[in-house]
Every structure is written in C-alpha cells, then in structure tokens.
Symmetry: C3
Subunit: 428 residues, 3 copies
Amino acid sequence: MPKIKFSLLSIIGGLTLLSSSAYAGVDAEVSYILNTLLFLIGGFLVMWMAAGFAMLESGLVTSKSVATIAAKNIGLYSIAGLMFWLVGYNLAYGIPEGGFIGSFLPWSDASAVDTGYSDGSDWFFQMVFCATTCSIVSGTLAERIKIWPFFLFAAILTGIIYPIEMGWQWGGGWLSAAGFSDFAGSTLVHAAGGAAALAGAIVLGARTGRFGGKGEAKPMAPFAASSIPLATLGVFILWMGWFGFNGGSQLAAGTLEDVSSVATIYINTNLAAGGGVLTAAIISRLIGGKTDVVMMLNGAIAGLVAITAEPLTPSPLAAIFIGAIGGLVMYFSAKLLFKLKIDDVVGAIPAHLVAGVWGTLAVPLTNGDVSFGAQFLGTLSVVVFVFVVSLIVFQIMKATIGLRISKEAERLGTDKAEIGVIAYGIRD
Amino acid sequence: MPKIKFSLLSIIGGLTLLSSSAYAGVDAEVSYILNTLLFLIGGFLVMWMAAGFAMLESGLVTSKSVATIAAKNIGLYSIAGLMFWLVGYNLAYGIPEGGFIGSFLPWSDASAVDTGYSDGSDWFFQMVFCATTCSIVSGTLAERIKIWPFFLFAAILTGIIYPIEMGWQWGGGWLSAAGFSDFAGSTLVHAAGGAAALAGAIVLGARTGRFGGKGEAKPMAPFAASSIPLATLGVFILWMGWFGFNGGSQLAAGTLEDVSSVATIYINTNLAAGGGVLTAAIISRLIGGKTDVVMMLNGAIAGLVAITAEPLTPSPLAAIFIGAIGGLVMYFSAKLLFKLKIDDVVGAIPAHLVAGVWGTLAVPLTNGDVSFGAQFLGTLSVVVFVFVVSLIVFQIMKATIGLRISKEAERLGTDKAEIGVIAYGIRD
Amino acid sequence: MPKIKFSLLSIIGGLTLLSSSAYAGVDAEVSYILNTLLFLIGGFLVMWMAAGFAMLESGLVTSKSVATIAAKNIGLYSIAGLMFWLVGYNLAYGIPEGGFIGSFLPWSDASAVDTGYSDGSDWFFQMVFCATTCSIVSGTLAERIKIWPFFLFAAILTGIIYPIEMGWQWGGGWLSAAGFSDFAGSTLVHAAGGAAALAGAIVLGARTGRFGGKGEAKPMAPFAASSIPLATLGVFILWMGWFGFNGGSQLAAGTLEDVSSVATIYINTNLAAGGGVLTAAIISRLIGGKTDVVMMLNGAIAGLVAITAEPLTPSPLAAIFIGAIGGLVMYFSAKLLFKLKIDDVVGAIPAHLVAGVWGTLAVPLTNGDVSFGAQFLGTLSVVVFVFVVSLIVFQIMKATIGLRISKEAERLGTDKAEIGVIAYGIRD
C-alpha cells in the first residue's frame, strides 16, 4: 500500500496546490479509513450473497427439500466464518512467497495498521469470499445429501481446500508468481466452488427418478422449482452483492484512481450480468420456444461470474460481450450436464464452473499484461486440485459416515426426514 | 463542483485553524472520493430497487403470472443498462444548454475527473434511475402483455423516452432553464413511469373478467395477490433503496454541508413514507372497514414518491404532511382508476403518477426559490410527452407485432404460456 | 467528539510527517463527514432490519395471519419514526446528566455541527434502534392481538417507554452514571423489546388450541410456519443489518482507531451469530433428533443479541463462545416458555430477552472496565421497568378498548377478519 508516497505527495501537493493539479494526494490516515470502509461495505454486500444463494436454492429445489437447503445455507455460512478464523486465513496468507501452502494457525487480529487498512476489515472481506465458495456447492447437491456430512464437507472446503488454492494466488503463492490473473475470483472462488459441486454430484448420483426409466427427465413436477420469485430474489441479491465482490476487490478506495476504478468495475459488472440475462433469454426462446426464466437467472450469474476475473480493463462493449458469452456457455453446458445425467439441482456447475473458466481465459482479451498460458495454467491447476481433493473427501465420507439420505427419506423429502418441518405451511 | 474553492480554503484554513472554525474545507481529492462513494453506495441501493419492484409485482399478480413478471423485471433491468449505455446517457446529457435533445452516441467513460467525482460513478447512478422508470411500468401491464413486445418497449423507454425528458431538466435542458425543480425525480422518474404505464394500460385493455359481466370486479380470487409477504418485502426494499435514490441525489458528500443535507434527506424520506403508510391504513379502515395491507404498501410508495421532488427543504412535520397527502391521493385515485375500468394490476399509476404529480406541485410549499408555475409547466410537459409518445409506441406495436397474449394464454396464465413453468411448485 | 484534538494533530502531524508516524490525524471536516456516513450507512442497514423482522414473522406465523403481521410490521416502523420525532428523541436525550427522564418536546434538527457529526444522521440512527425494539414485540403477539390496539402500544413503546429507559444509559442518565455498559443495546433494545413482548403474551393469553385439551401443543399444523424460506431470509436480513447495528454503534469512523474498531465489531458480530447457529443446530439434533431449522434461525439471532452488549473487546474465540451460549440459553428458555404455556409465536422472548440478558451480564468477562454489579443493576432495572409498564398499558387497553380478536376472527384467521385478504393467493 502506497503509504509513504502519499505522505510525500501531500506535502509537495500542499505547496503546489494552486499552481498545478488540484488533486494532490490523500493524507495517509484518511486513505486508511477509506480503504477500510471499502472492505467493510464490500464485506457486508458479499455476506448478503449468502442470503442470495439461500433464496436461489430454496426457490429452485422442490418444495419438500426447502427447509433443508435453508438450514444448510445458514449453517455453511456460520461454519465458513469459524473455519476461516481457525485455520483458513493463515493457510492462505501465511504462505511463503511463491509457495504452495501456509500455516495451520488461527488468525489473530494483531491490530496491524501498517498495511494501509485495518487487517480486521480485510479478514472479514476475505472470509465472505470463502463462504461464497461453499454456498455454490450446496445447491448442486440438494435434496439427497445428508445435512451433517454436508456440514463436515463445508468445514473442510472453507477451512482447507479453498484457502490452499486461494493462497496460491492472493496469498502470493506459486500461481501469482507464474503470472496468473484473477481479479475477484472467477476461478479461485466460482470455478473452485463449481468443481467441488461437480465432484459431489458425481459421488452422490442423481435424485431418484431424475433421469428415469424413459431416459427423459421431466423439468416440471415432480422436479418443479418451489418458488420462482424467491429464486429471482436470490439472483437480485447476488447481483447487488457482486458490487461488493468485484468493487471491493480493487482493495483500495483511498485515491482518486482507486475509487474511479471501483466505479468502472460497477459498470462492467452490471453490463456483463445484463448481457448474460439477455443471451440466456434469447437462446432459450429460440431453441426451446419458451423464455426460460430459470435460464435468465442463471444467465445473470454466468455473466457476473465471467466478468469477475477482470472487471476493470474491459470497455462497456467488451463487458457486455464477456457476460453474453458467459450466458451462452452456461446454457449449453447445462444441456450437456443433463445429457451426461449429472444432477445439478440449481445449475451451479454451468453458471459458476463453466462461466468461471470462460471469464478467466478471457482476461487477456482486454488486459494486455496477462498471457493465455498463465490463465490456462491457473484455471487448470485450481479446478483439478479442488475437483480431485473434493472427490477424495466425498468418497471417504461415502465409505465411512455415509453421504446420501435413504430412499425412504428421499421419498418423504429431506424436510420431513432431517429437519422435521414442512417448508410451506401454506399447503395445509 | 467547488474544487478550487476548497483548495484555497484548506490552505487558509490551515493557517487559521486554531483561532477560527475547526471546519476548514476538505482536500479536493478527498472530496472527489467521497462524492464518488455517494454515487456508488446510492447506486447499489437504487439498483436494489429493481429487486423491490420484482418482489412487489410478483407478490401482487395472480399466481399464474408470477414467473413472467419475475422474468420481465430482471430482463428490463438488464435492458436498461445496455440501452442507457448505448444511447440514453448522451441523449440526456449531451443536450445543449436549454435545449430539447442530446446526441445519439454511446457513452464512453473518458475517465474524466474534473467534475469533482468519477464520471463512471455518475453514469451508474443515473442508469439505475433510468431502470427504475421502467420497473414502474411492468407491474401495471402484468398478466396480459407479451413478454418480448414488453422488452421492446423497455428498450425504447430506457433508451429514448426517459433520457429525452430527463435531459430537459437534469441534463440542463429547457425545463431546467424554465426554473423547474425536481430534486430526485417525482416527475422525471415516477410520474413519467406512471404515465407510460397508463398509456400501456389503455392500449392493452383490462384482464379478461376483471370488470366482468356484473360490472363489479372481485378484489379476491380469481384476482388474488399471489403473496402478500413478498409484496411487503418489495416495499421494504424500495424504502431502503430510496435512501440511495433521494440521498444520492444530493450529488455530493464531500463537504460538511452536503453530507448534513444527505442526513436531512434520509429523515424526510423516512417520515414521508411513514405518513403515507398511516394515512392509507386509516382511510382504508374508515372507508372500507378493513385495514388494507396493499393500500398500506402503496401508501409507503406514494409517500416516498411525493417527497422525492423536494426531500431537503421540508421540516419533519412538512415531510409527514407531504407523504400523508401522497397516501390520500394514491388511495382515491386508485378507486377512480377502478371506476374508469383501467386495469392497473399493482396500483403503480396512483402511487407513482398521481403521488408524483402531487409531490412536484408541492415543492413551492417548502422551497421558496421555486414557483408553482414552473412546477406545473414541468409536470405537465413531462407527463404529456411520456404519455403521448408511449401511447403511439404501444399503438404501433399493437398494430404490427401484437401486444396482448391470446385468450387461451390468458386462461392458462402467462407462466405456462410464455415461460413454460409454474411459479410455485408448492401447489403440486 | 475529539474535534480540537484532531485540528492540533493535523498541524503537528504535518510537520513531523516524514520523521515519525505516517498517521497524523484527520482533518476535522473529513472526520465529520466520515462519522456522518457511518451513521447513514449504519442507519439504512438497521432500517433494513425492519424488513428482516417482517419476513421472519411472516414466515413463522400460520398462513392465515401472514398479511396481518406484514401490515403490523410496516405500520409499526412508520409509527416509530413519527413518535421518535414527536416525543421520543428529546425524552431520551433531553435528560439531565444522571437523571431519569428528558423533555416531551419534538426533535428539531438545529443543523448542529459542533458534535463532530450531523445531528440529523444521529437522529436517524437512533430512530431505527427505536423501531427495532418494537419489531421484536410484534412476532410474539401475532395471530391474536387486534391490529389497532397493537399500533397504539407501538406508539407508546416507541414514543415513551423505550426512550425513557434508553435515555437512562445512552442519554447520559442515572444508569450511565452507575457504570452500566451496553455497547449497542443487548439490554436497552433487545431485552427491552423481549420484556414488552412477555408482558403482552401474558395479558393476551395463548392462541386458541395452542396448549390444547391434551396439554400438548403440536409444533406442526395447525401451527405450522407459513414459509421457512421467508423466515430464513428474515434472519439473513437481520444478520446483515446487525453490521450497521453494532458497527454503527462505534459512533465514529473518522480516525484510524475508530474504523479499525468497526472492523473488529464486524468480525465478532459475525462469529457470535455463527456460534449461535451451530449450538442451536447441535443441541436440537442431539435432544430432539432433528436439525431444527427454526432453532438455527433463532440461534443466529440469539448469538447476535448476546454479542451486542460488547462486540469490541472480545477475542474471536470469546465472541464465538458468547454467541454459542446465547444459542444455548435461547434453546432452553424456549422449551421453558412452552412448559409455562406462554405463547411466543416466533420465539422472540428467548432470542431477545434471555440472550440479551446473558450478553449484558457477560460484558465483564472481556471488558475489565465493567463490573458485574453494574451490569446486573442495569439489566434488572430496564427489564423490570419495561415489563411492568408494558403490563400496565396492556391491562388498561384490555379493560378499555380490548386487545384480543374474537374467537370467530381467530378461527377465520386475522387476515380475513382484519385485513380482508388472503396472504397466499397460491392456495386458490
């Protein structure tokens, strides 16, 4: 953080204020406060994304598994906070320069101030990113994974798997040294979450009857979404939260340049999401004959995920393009997953893994400092690492404590079997 | 923006700091950052209003058109961003001083900094206002307008109609020169959106059976609101977002006076909304015998819309009064629309058009610098312009591509006919 | 507010900038702006909690009383704003030092600036706390209290009862003089709201059939929660809002120390909530056999309430502990209330009153400047005062205008009887 530079500038600036530029640098303490506020405001916006995932997933699962997915989402967010404090943060940021793994120590707020911002605000901001990675997984595995084994996986993902791969880049590890670029986590967060979800979906198998006797799944009942407006609310929440996710990842707001960059990031983030919505709407209308609202919702997410790797350098038109392609790859990969009989209840793998890979590989299109080779290396490393480790963890859990609910529980619904409530008392 | 003044002040201030005021002016770069932050925070709050409209409208339509209205809301917000970039912004702000129309050029972030704030942050803030104007329209026309013609109208409204009339005032055009005053858009945004909605409702006609054989519409089934709590959530979201809408319209937070004004605006905005809620509750209880929650919700909106033309100069008592009258005019104009057999599904015309006109005309009551004549001129010009142009556009669309869904689609519901889903899987 | 100190510091700091610390104090006007922004941002986040309570309560009541609870929540928030302006603020802050009660005058924004922040922003921030106190009450009394008598009680609570006890501490009254400590209102807001709710629940009695003939209440139908996902949304909203509630209660963000404290408060608030969720999940699974999602939701609230009395001094581990115990006392007191046949529809008494008392008494565990004696005195005084006064007010209302709806209205549901709608048109 350019602390000393600003102190110098403010004195020089003071003397030359009338004769030259009116912008003469910001006092270091003011800069510290503004940087910290960016983390705090960005932090509560990204925290809010946990609610977005909870609503999206509650809306898209069938009505007999809604209370379970709500419980999983609030539970995983709670676990993420505890695990990122207990082990995650130092595993990521205690990494040696260019290294592979940090230390297994709990984070302690040393009240450090010499970074140019409150270390506590940074911890909070990083923690909510960690939680987001796990939120992505819960939707894919809904309606068939047992709740406590899911919580155990959430602890492993947020405490160990995510922090290790994230540290490779944002902790200053080997990927960072290799020239990889991922501004706010198209790969580190979204593709990683999607890769863990894919591993889980493979180990768990599909919901009973999803790819039934006739080889054709019915998109409607008995697999109808419980509430489209709640799913829509979830996507609006995610969209709002993404201004914190991408905007906060500028990591500073204490200079004219930084805060102007945050503004550009807001614009590109919004335009990319819009591009994703509209291509998904158009393609679903052209191919399927109906304007598929669920595809539009996942199109928004795909556009947001795609722009996340580089929301600063694209022009508005490029941002729309990146988001629009994000919507397209989401649409076709969703169809592919369906053909492969991989049961992704909410479509998180197409929207987060596939669009995340697209967005990361697209960075060199608008950022000349980044090479395709480094992007390919980074994406591949992170996705393979998270996928393989998750696959192993899920397999071990399956062989020991068990992962999947009983056929009887699946027939009843997880809400009655595991939570002991019905989600919508409306039905009575 | 008072850039030089502050630079001077900070030097003078530095010398006289101990002997005179402790408040000696803010460094120009800090001021720039704070102004930009106001736009960004205000911007994400107003963006959030798109979710508020989506929830309000999803809650108030019947359950067979909920997924459609969700799709329309996320679609129109996406379209607004693209169109405001492609043509809207420069149509409004490229206007000659005192003129009628700007240029048809896409906006390009010239990274301009000499306005005292990031131009990008201003674009984002203005864009979400543009989207709000369109959100108002979708609810009124629900359950009978085809989705793609609606999207086309959304593109025209957000790209052309709104930017033209908005430029008259906020772009420095002829209305601004005529002394019109509309702080945050009671007329430019809300009455305009309501006028477009009214035009659409007239061209489309009412839902089949709404003003049926007996000449009496049933407020309950088959026209029951799908979810009162979602509608309530929508209004709370709008209320929250309005702090960004009105507070951000101070356009600066880089001085003691500006940020104190934002605080006053928060207070008046909140009190006016409360006034609208309570008069709607009381009047519906007194006249109808029941405490009508939908009227309370629209009362909140009416109060918010009414205070939007001038949220800074009123005293707390005056703000309550302006909001309370807003609730009253909303209530009686809703009854009038019903008698006129104009089918406004969610009550947007009374809450946005009528309360917006009231609020704009009320500005001179608390702001001595503003004349009733100018207010009358501005309100009339904007409402007539938007209404007439929208009417023409809707009529052309009706005569060419068609506006209204088939009788069969209306019987099935737009969700099954156009989107291919049921909104609430709960029913199965 | 340390206005002069900063002015001095900035001059001294300017001279010694290169030779000593880079953090040399913030200009008084910048500090003023940042303090005001903390109140405004914190304020809209706490305002948002009103929506959280509305969703939590709409989700947890039965489907025939949902529109009523929505109307009550938006109504009480409106009333709180008006009453806190009309009488509440000066009743609290017009208190003589060490005294018992302030003046019955309306608040007037004197545009005062010599406090180091905008007085208007402070009023707004305090007003939303006042509204929160009342939101707590509505859920407990749902499904059987008449709407207009409830609004009358809301006016008395927000205009008189809450301001009086709040002034004892935050207005500089006798409790403050006695050394009591309650950072953001575990007792002043949450235990107070819970105490008023308990008084109301006792006077009103339980819902018909709740503790029916067999002496056993059925947790499921006919007392099933109308929508678990809406209740979950409500808790996520509250969680988000709590960053404003506790973070804003630092009351300043204009120095490095203040903004760093806000960051620490965010962390502790989040960890305590997570602790409450997880203990509630574990204990409900161990004792009841199911992972009770409603207990998890109230566990989050209990954790948040518990940390509110002191979110700054605890270590992360201590914050988790305080929240976890909050979840435990909530769980067991909910069971106790049930045995006592006190009908608390949403569980607000365990989550706000009991966890609030725990959190307040726990302050000396991490804050050496606070004594158990003072905490005991403060908690007891506030809870007894609010409980007794509320009990008297409810009894007078019961004996005069009537409090409880008729048996017939209860059978129909308050939505049909009082509001004249059905909340979920889905059913038709």
